[in-house]
Amino acid sequence: MKIVMDGKEVAAERGQTIVEVARRNGVYIPTLCHVPALEPAAMCRICTVELAEGRRSRLVTACNYPLRSDAEIHTDTPLLRQNRKVLIELLASRCPGSETLRELAERYGADLNRFPAEDRQCIMCGLCARVCERVGGNVLALCGRGVEIRVDTSFGRLSPTCIACTACVQICPVNAIRFEDVDGERRVIVRGKEASRVPLRRCTSCGARFGPVIDLVPVLERAGESGVPPFNASVCPACSRRNLARRLAERHFEQHAVEPRDAGEES
């Protein structure tokens, strides 16, 4: 299989997507809704490239197009640059102030203020909903349809199934999801609106709040790790480290018959 990308022949394996091949060969293709860990959804369309297989030339999305035969790919033609520019300008109107979009705008000469801003704090890449389905508790989904599609919880209520894993917080490219730990609860806040409240464990050793109280069994099942015993600590990670250190020290001093110093006073 011979793959030519922007004029250079590149190494590729059958079935690899164009983005995979590009990344491996150091060719830049912009993406907004793609992370390698999740099945590509081709929603943002910014990764669209020109592909010629045989005589036919067409536009395909690089994130999910599997290469199966000889192909010639152009990742940065004037046509692509022009359309990417429009795409960024359109997205900027619904998510002004996004650092990610500002960087892309610079690259493609897009005017971030071309269209009147209507701040929805979201570029609808759908990553949060996809990661939530994959590792979380099926809390966030793409609700509604048409241009009014939005990320929301069922009935817009606090979700009873959230495991407060905060994967959505980590994955959002425009930082529209955050979490805060207050009053013994973890609150996941999507575009300024609370999506869930999950109680946090209290450390039996120091009394501090840590990690959410959740049933991990379904999560492990979904991740294909059903045999793994769920994590069920009652001590926070800091205390757990401290306790371990103390035990090791005690053993050391027992063996060498030296009076132990108080471990708690270590800095």
């Binding site: 389905e133 099926n138 809390v139 966030l140 989904a141 793409l142 609700c143 509604g144 349809r145 919880t153 069922s154 009935f155 209520r157 606090l158 009873p160 199934t161």
Partner: protein, 166 residues
């Protein structure tokens, strides 16, 4: 789930025997038939009551978000109760060319509701439909399941007056 229980208590009108009949007898409890189950539930209650969807999620073993997604995606589903009288205005191309858009705007302005909305007294719901396939007699409206060919603003005023007089 404490939340779902709380909601079920708020809306006791959902009859689980009815739901079981729809889910199991009519559609064999098959996940693929979920959309048709929801349609049947909607026909029964004239909307999709929240507890019914919680129950559906439990019985089918489908995450509630997936059901909520479906309920908000398809235009025919409603999560809020409909009014006593239902007016559908066809906004297909043929009807549009003969002024159905103006009729929708007229009713919406007169009742102070948007298309898809219901008056606060629950008497009247205004909806639009993309095409009823009766283009020859455009513009068409359907009021309480009866077709009215070649409708006009005057006709719609009659419906509103009649509904208000009820």
């Amino acid at each position: 789930m404490s939340e779902s229980e709380a909601i079920c208590c708020q809306e006791p009108e959902v009859d689980f025997v009815v739901l079981d009949r729809i889910i199991h007898e009519e559609f064999g409890g098959r996940r693929e038939k979920m959309i048709m189950m929801m349609q049947t539930i909607q026909r029964h209650y004239r909307y999709l009551p929240e507890p019914a969807l919680y129950y559906l999620a439990q019985v089918l073993g489908v995450p509630l978000t997936k059901i909520y997604e479906v309920a908000t995606f398809y235009a025919s589903f409603s999560l809020v109760p409909k009014g006593k009288h239902l007016l559908h205005v066809c906004t297909g191309t043929a009807c549009h060319l003969r002024g159905s858009g103006g009729m929708v705007r007229h009713v919406a302005a007169k009742l102070g509701i948007a298309p898809g909305g219901t008056t606060p007294d629950m008497k009247f719901t205004l909806e639009t439909v993309n095409c009823l396939g009766a283009c020859a007699v455009a513009p068409v409206v359907v009021y309480d399941d009866k077709y009215y060919p070649q409708a006009n603003v005057g006709k719609l005023n009659e419906f509103i007056e009649k509904a208000n007089a009820d």
